[in-house]
């Protein structure tokens, strides 16, 4: 019994001891941890206080030393040095102020665990101050703009421009209304002046981007003088997205955005992506997508602003590295450093990268320092991480269009519980990770409700009109955008992958009845020529027409003087044929008035250039319909081609190295141009000996080509409205160019398609001859 009691006591003692040890451990360990933490915390506090006090003293001493230097340089008139020391003084005072703030407020609050009260104040406050408007009423000539009264100013961005808020005068309002621009309130004037420190390259760059921004109807007015360039945009009052993001995070806590705030933030990004979709379908890209270029208005709509880098997707210019670090795709920089041209890449994908980076910064309240590999550390739906990853993925793996990205964002934003959405639930995943979720036309239909919100103050009227243009151009835009495929991972060797599927003849928006032609693009305000210019142009055309008539008369007289009377039978036959053909021609041209470009391609299979069988028949054929031109000609001996007096601009989209078929076709074009004797400008073509055309090398050929590409935007050259647009372009460039021969890359192993556009002053006869000489053809 006693033994059992002893055993029990021992067991109880052991259990008790274990319990005591466990209890002690569970109490003592946290206690020790707490003590260690407290010691570390206090030590950190003391260390921080000592360090900041020392820094404060050092800064004050330096500041005191700088003061006499500032004063001395001011007195002796060395203003540059004075400014230099003044800036140094200001830096030291800023440092001293920051140290003082930390010693007096930040560190003590951190010591008692209340540092959340002043978290990030030292960063937020200067940022707000930096964004504060500068002097409202500018002085001097640089601040005066005819027709506008300056009422305020905005903080200048990185472009070196001054930004003013202005009220247009009554006359300006009337001018806007005449140009069909309604609902203009206050405007923003972005001014680059040499006097204000802007450089010439900046002015040139901005003025180049102006044409592109005008296409979107975003520019209301502009002026370019010898020392100043400014343009006028609608004013969107609001706050930058970056500031809104910080506010949302401040309200949600350090863990990440709350569901409500996440939804708000996603709304801003959806507006941004929707606007980008508008840009892309209009054949443009923004190139500087970042939170500071997105303004959120009082209604909660986000607007993309700053058109300083907006470019045409088909620009012939070389890619540049402009943009903002962390929001600019490194791949774009690599391609730019390789000298790749804008039209050789799909610029929309760089904007999509920027949108992904904005989405990342919205979720993280930070920049994606790691590019596409940046990790999301804060609370975020898995599906949204997927969207970020896809948008910032490698160039050829990211979303094929902004519309596809928008669909995914909306799937998360509009879900009852965004955090419950899985990547597999996203529309892009349902359609296949690498497939285009929907056509741009479909995307346009979806984007339409958000379009007004996205463009917002830019104007629903512009939106409605522009939508038509975009829909026609954009249906195939993504499909035809060239792709760059890296063929060697280290050297970065890349090849241009031709778009899948050859260009189609009709780029009409899905759902538009086939018989209805696409609505031509509106010409935004400021882009139209003045009445004076139009009158001068009309007079010049008249003079040229008179000259041509006089030339023909002279030709007839010369033939008559040669003493070779025309065979009366042949003459009657020719006159009869011309009469019949003219009747048919008039009937045909009633339906396509002003459409000067002869499009043989839609009805005629590829044909090599061929010589006319006889001058009379040739002239008739030149006037004739494509069907007649397509009739095989049986001619034995080469006959000389009629000479065409004019200048032809050659635009060659076929990238080197040329395939055998392409090379042969290009030589054919070159030979055709040589045969008709026109002056040739633009891209060089291969030629056989003896076939070299008369080449004119003009310094502004690059500009001409860029301007022509800008006019077509993303439209394929054989699209329905390309002829009309190029006709207008040729009218604007008469005197420089009489016709354009545009060679577009064909599908793989297929010859390129060739299209000829002729201005109004080039006779239809000559246009027909030229078309046949160069072998106008479709790539299909």
């Amino acid at each position: 019994m006693a033994a059992a009691e002893i055993l029990l006591v021992i067991l109880a003692s052991i259990v008790g001891l274990v319990l005591v040890v466990v209890l002690a451990m569970s109490l003592l360990v946290p206690l020790f941890k707490g003590i260690v933490f407290l010691i570390k915390h206090v030590a950190t506090f003391i260390g921080s206080m000592v360090m900041d006090t020392a820094r404060f003293v050092g800064s004050v001493i330096l500041a005191i030393l700088y003061v006499p230097l500032v004063v001395l340089n001011l007195v002796i008139g060395r203003f540059s040095a004075c400014g230099h020391y003044g800036r140094a003084l200001w830096n030291e005072l800023s440092n001293a102020g920051l140290c003082l703030y930390r010693v007096a407020l930040s560190h003590p609050l951190r010591l008692v665990g209340l540092h959340g009260l002043v978290e990030g104040v030292e960063r937020r406050l200067p940022e707000v101050m930096a964004n504060a408007p500068t002097r409202d009423l500018p002085t001097g000539k640089g601040g005066k703009f005819d027709g506008y009264s300056i009422v305020g100013s905005l903080a200048a961005g990185g472009s070196g421009a001054k930004l003013y808020i202005a009220q247009p005068s009554a006359a300006k309002f009337a001018a806007f209304q005449r140009d069909g621009i309604d609902h203009v309130g206050q405007v923003v004037i972005k001014s680059f002046s040499l006097q204000d420190g802007s450089s010439l390259p900046q002015i040139v760059r901005e003025s180049r981007s102006l044409d592109a921004a005008k296409k979107l109807g975003l520019i209301l007015d502009h002026e370019l003088t010898a020392d100043r360039f400014y343009y006028v945009m609608r004013y969107v009052p609001g706050e930058p997205l970056g500031m809104m993001i910080r506010r949302l995070h401040g309200a949600s806590g350090p863990g990440g955005l709350s569901p409500t705030n996440l939804r708000s933030g996603l709304g801003y990004v959806a507006d941004l992506v929707s606007t980008l979709s508008v840009y892309h379908r209009g054949g443009l890209w923004h190139k500087d997508v970042k939170p500071d270029n997105v303004i959120v208005d009082a209604s909660g709509n986000a607007h993309l602003v700053d058109f300083g880098l907006v470019s045409s997707l088909r620009s012939a210019m070389t890619l540049t590295t402009h943009g903002t670090e962390y929001f600019r795709d490194p791949e774009m920089v690599r391609l730019a450093l390789k000298g790749v041209k804008v039209h050789e890449v799909d610029g929309t994908r760089f904007d999509i990268y920027g949108a992904g980076a904005v989405l990342y910064s919205m979720v993280e309240d930070s920049f994606p320092a790691h590019g596409g590999l940046s990790q999301v550390t804060k609370r975020c739906p898995e599906a949204l991480k997927w969207v970020i990853r896809r948008a910032m993925a490698d160039y050829d793996k990211r979303y094929p269009s902004a519309a596809a990205m928008l669909a995914d964002i909306d799937a998360v934003r509009l879900a009852a519980d965004p955090f419950a959405v899985r990547p597999i639930d996203l529309p892009s995943m349902k359609a296949g990770a690498n497939a285009q979720p929907q056509s741009e036309a479909g995307g346009a239909a979806n984007a339409a409700p958000t379009f007004a919100a996205a463009v917002g103050a830019v104007g629903a009227s512009i939106g409605a009109a522009f939508k038509n243009v975009m829909d026609t151009a954009a249906a195939k835009a993504a499909a035809h955008g060239p792709n760059i495929r890296v063929t060697h991972w280290w050297t970065g060797r890349a090849e241009v992958v031709p778009p899948a599927g050859a260009p189609v003849a009709d780029v009409r928006m899905a759902g538009t009845p086939a018989g209805i032609p696409p609505i031509p693009p509106i010409v935004p305000a400021g882009m139209r020529r003045s009445a004076e210019e139009q009158l001068a142009s009309a007079k010049a055309k008249l003079e040229r027409a008179r000259g041509r008539v006089a030339g023909r008369r002279a030709g007839w007289r010369m033939r008559a003087a040669d003493g070779k009377p025309m065979n009366s039978g042949v003459g009657i036959a020719v006159l009869a044929a011309v009469g019949v053909l003219a009747f048919a021609n008039v009937a045909r041209h009633e339906s396509r008035r002003n459409h000067a470009a002869v499009n043989v391609s839609q009805t005629q299979p590829p044909t090599p250039p061929e010589a006319p069988s006889a001058p009379a028949t040739d002239e008739a054929a030149a006037f004739e319909t494509p069907d007649a031109a397509a009739t095989p000609a049986h001619h034995e001996a080469p006959v000389s081609w009629p000479h065409i007096d004019g200048t032809v601009l050659v635009i060659n989209d076929v990238l080197q190295p040329w395939s055998g078929a392409a090379d042969q076709a290009l030589r054919g074009v070159s030979s055709g141009l040589a045969k008709v004797g026109v002056e040739v400008r633009g891209n060089a073509l291969p030629a056989n000996a003896g076939d070299e055309p008369k080449v004119q090398h003009g310094e502004d050929d690059v500009d001409l080509i860029a301007s022509a590409r800008l006019t077509l935007g993303q439209r394929p050259v054989d699209s329905a409205d390309a002829g009309e647009l190029m006709n207008a372009w040729l009218s604007d460039h008469e005197g420089d160019v009489d016709a354009v021969v545009w060679i577009a890359a064909g599908a793989k192993d297929q010859p390129p398609s060739v299209r000829v556009f002729g201005g109004e002053h080039l006779s239809k006869k000559n246009l027909g001859v030229l078309s046949r000489a160069v072998g106008e053809r479709s790539g299909q």
């Binding site: 690599r334 790691h370 990790q375 993925a393 490698d394 793996k397 690498n434």
Partner: protein, 254 residues
């Protein structure tokens, strides 16, 4: 001895290929800047260090002609020596400008190569350079593999999500996740070797992968434990590299 690939790399730098310099600076910029800041110990402002862009480095491409691989310099020290030289040159230029004497910037001489042989770098820098190489290899793999496959790798390895969670998120089975992950892992192993060799001048540098648990075991001999170790090492390196980039970003925005 340099491999042909290395010669190609040096050749591109010698040819003042801006894209090559951009690649080098994109890959190793953060770790070099971090080391320079550390060396500076406050004497060199963060702004000055940040000013060392790839354009500045590219301006030194002529110096590459004097590169002599037989002297046994490591790639990491060679890189740092160039950056150090650029920094010194930049500082000299600024001082000359300040003095207003229209003095030319310090001429480039052969001293940079001598500096390259100077083992004045710590293990932390060497580890940073190696991590940058691994990051470069991950980027190469991102380019080469299917987007979904790389996303699986990213979720599973870099974010450390369980296979089941990844499978549910993507609506696929766990074995599919494992299979696709293995595909990316194999590619990464191969590219890792390529990239490490690419950015290595000495045998010791080339062996770093093995020392860091990234040994390229033959496929037949590989076990699940090898794969787990590999994934773990990649994950750790990736996170450390991310921390470095964050610090670099903070310094640049300061």
């Amino acid at each position: 001895m340099l491999t042909p690939v290395n010669m190609d790399f040096i050749g591109r730098l010698r040819a003042n290929d801006q894209a090559a310099w951009f690649e080098v600076w994109e890959t190793f910029g953060p770790v070099v800047r971090s080391q320079l800041s550390k060396w500076g110990k406050g004497r060199i402002g963060s702004q000055t260090v940040q000013d060392l862009s790839q354009e500045t480095l590219a301006a030194l491409s002529e110096s590459i002609d004097r590169f002599d691989p037989s002297r046994g310099a490591r790639f990491s020290t060679w890189l740092l020596a160039i950056a150090k030289h650029v920094l010194g040159d930049e500082l000299d230029r600024r001082h000359a400008q300040k003095r207003g004497g229209n003095k030319r910037a310090a001429e480039l001489d052969e001293s940079w190569m001598a500096s390259a042989a100077d083992p004045g770098v710590d293990a932390q820098y060497e580890a940073g350079v190696f991590r940058a190489k691994v990051e470069a290899a991950i980027r190469v793999v991102e380019k080469e593999t299917d987007f979904s496959d790389f996303a699986i790798f990213s979720m599973r390895v870099l974010e450390g999500k369980p296979g089941k969670e990844v499978a549910e998120a993507l609506g696929i089975s766990e074995p599919t996740v494992s299979r696709r992950l293995a595909k990316v892992r194999d590619t990464l192993r191969e590219r890792l070797v390529d990239v490490v060799v690419m950015y290595s001048f000495t045998q010791e540098e080339k062996d770093e992968a093995a020392r860091n648990g990234l040994l390229a075991t033959p496929k037949q001999e590989r076990t699940a434990a090898d794969d787990a170790l590999f994934d773990e090492a990649i994950c750790e390196i990736y996170h450390r590299q991310m921390d470095l980039r964050r610090q670099d970003q903070a310094a640049r925005l300061r």
